[in-house]
Amino acid sequence: MMVSRSGRAEAPPDTPPATGARRRPDPLRLAAGVLVLILLAAGASTDRFLTLDNARAILASTAFVGITAIGATLVMIAGSAVSLAVSQTATVVAMIFLATQPLGLGTSLLLALLCGVTVTAVQGAVIGYWAANPIVLTIAAGFATGGVATWISDGTTVSAEVPRYDVLNSTPLGLPLAVYVLLAVTALAQWTLRRTTAGRQMYLVGENRAAAHAAGLPVGRVTVVAWAFFGACIGLTGVFLASFNTGANSALGGTLTLDAIAAVLAGGTAIAGGRGSALRTLGGALLISIISDVLLLRGYSTGIQILVKGLLVLAVVLTVHLRSVRGRR
């Protein structure tokens, strides 16, 4: 891929360089096609799967993880792999949101999002400007953030003295507000990645950090922008989690960290960076929700659902790897 000083890529960023392999079927698309066929067959033969209520439930259960996963996509594309501090950050954001409810919904929203953006963008700055290892850094940040959450709350559940968040649990046109926010965040992320200089530079930095640096791209700034966007997404998730659960304790974030990573990977974004898209992540998040839904409707246990999710992510990661290896030949 050619890199210009303005950061313009010469090829569509989520398309692998296809040299001499055009006639072979793309394994990712082939696998996705097979999976969709299997799901359609399983869904059609599952009682109540093809109903409006179930479609709503799938979308609703995708929203929280999906919003965070969209933010994580930018970070992964920009070559920062993953963050392991997501659950803790969302928990702190939720606590701040609930504790500041007496100040009004707008103020508490602003403070909560500001917290998410700041905590996450600082990590992005350390990674972007000083090339810190994102895994190690975010493990440390996760401990620190979780510690702060426990210290501030003293382990108790934070709830709002004067709850003003009911509007966030509303369901315009029958769908939870979080679903609309997920769609809006996806559109914004996709637009940023495709239509802005910063977005294109994220692909270039993720593809080859050293080359991007040598080409004069603002590696540090691009990384911080990706992480700040990620922080805003975590902030939104934290706010919706707080409103949905009407309280926040240290366990609120649950498995959000790994669920978001799974959704990004299931969408086919390369963990090494440089490839992927927000739309794919939305697809990945939906896919995981649909599979969980089919398994639940068919009476499989939570354990089986988690197992299948793990196998799906593994299969997609292997396929993406094979695809990129083939693309390099």
């Binding site: 439930a57 366990a251 609120l252 939570t302």
Partner: protein, 341 residues
Amino acid sequence: MFRTRSRRAGTAAGSLALVLLASACGGADDAGPSASGAPGAAQLKGKTVALVGYGKANSWGAYYNQVFNEQLAATGVRIDDMTSMDPGTQVQKFNQSVAQKPDLIVLAIWDTAAMAVPIKKAKQAGVPVLVVDGRPDPSVQNDVMSVLSDNVKLGEFAAQNIIEGLRGQGRRSGNVIVLTGTKSMLVTQDRMQGFHKVMATAPEYKVVAEEDANWDPTLSGKIAQQLLARFGKDGVQAAYGMADYMALPIVQAAKQAGFPIGGTDGLIVTSSNCFKAGIESIRAGELYGTATEDPGTIAKQTADYTVRFLSGQKPPQSETVKEERVTKATLDQFAEQCSHA
């Protein structure tokens, strides 16, 4: 290069010193000797208890630890804080405590099976163990003392709430969904045993789904959304979330799916151990009911048991905390007790 290395070494040593200093200062609150002067102080001064319980990051554990420390503060007993948030760390801390040979280990078990062998080792080492909240593995039940929550009763209360709520609505039949805590835990199994026992007395109401939500509020909300869609508004009339923080996401999921909640024809949602948010929800007419198992009550009873044991009074090998059913009718009686976590 030498100067750079020296600077790095100096920075590392300085950081380590700061961490050690912070640890020393920060630990004073929890682990230091309690104030003496209360009855029994002279007798118990110098005794040591290792608290291998749930960590502060768990709201139930945080309040339990606070009350337990407060209750023993006047006795002169020293409490070593060995609490943790995961089963693996707990086993390590338990083994560490056994090696230190305290006068008593107070243990709230994360993983029943994983703690069986360490408990046997503690017995061999002559270190007494007091298990609190959930019962230990049956293979080591006679090797420990215990102050236990009555989990069977908590499950029974949940079923009573559902039956009472549905009958109050005049329903002659109804379907119930259940979101449990981690199914492999004896706490969960005991509650479900009590729940099914009472539900069997009302065969007109049927449990149509029982899912493991792993004590996770977010997962509870997600599973609830899917189950409510699966059965539809006519297909589910009641729901049981094993803790308040699991039942409240069910309420939200139901509201978003357009289910009426409570009242004369809405979804009856119950829990089986109370938190502040659950009490507020009952007051708002959304959660039908819950039950106690509040950390303050069991912490007081554990502290009392500890004093009796350390002062040589030989308390019974096992005690069970009396649990109470909480509904709108009994809310005022238990609201304060349930509002600390």
